[in-house]
Symmetry: C2
């Protein structure tokens, strides 16, 4: 509670035990939520240095540049940080679908009360 991260004017990411912060990626022009990933200090630095989104893959334990194989890179427009500095928002210009399934957004299914999932049209993302 005494932490000053919410009033700080310096970027002091609060990395978790694995050295990561949550990264939320939205389309800068539409505001649509595209994907969620994780960043370590290196991913943040490379994203800032190159203007292309880099993340840390927890499953592969490796730094990756989004689009390095698919070509669907994300060009950084603006980075924001949340109040307690354990999450960042990347507002980007996507070169193509952000999801590995070929969809614009990774959030393409609605959760129903009974636990079923309903697939949404790409246009439904907002």
């Amino acid at each position: 509670m005494a932490d000053q991260r919410d009033t700080a004017d310096r970027f002091l990411p609060r990395f978790d035990a694995a050295g990561l912060v949550t990264a939320i990626v939205t389309d800068a022009s539409t505001g649509v939520l595209l994907m969620v990933a994780h960043m370590n200090a290196d991913a943040i630095e490379r994203t800032q240095a190159t203007g292309k989104a880099h993340f840390w893959s927890r499953s592969r334990s490796a730094l990756w540049r989004k689009g390095e194989t698919s070509g669907n890179e994300l060009t950084l427009v603006e980075m924001r940080v949340d109040c307690d500095q354990d999450a960042v928002l990347l507002r980007v210009r996507p070169a193509g679908p952000a999801c590995h399934t070929g969809r614009r957004s990774c959030f393409y299914r609605r959760v129903e009360a009974d636990g079923s999932l309903v697939f949404l049209d790409d246009d439904a993302h907002s």
Copy 2:
């Protein structure tokens, strides 16, 4: 890679070692990113059952209903899940500011290249 979570029509959250998924909260009417939190199975169940957003506080190790003290509850409009089912999107109708600082969104600061943070007007959120 052989995991079928991205094509499944059933909600099968992929909880991390701590039993949590990432929860992204947006304003259902504007699409603005409001906050990021975590949910365990109980938080998901109570959110679905009550229509009010519940989360798991990692710092307090406790379930909490957003707004239980501030009154700024979040009424669920729709829940979505991402491709690998380790993150959910809550599209909500907020009763007031989502951030504990009194701001509409927790993402009220822009990260500059030199590591400084610039405070944004509430209207700048998108």
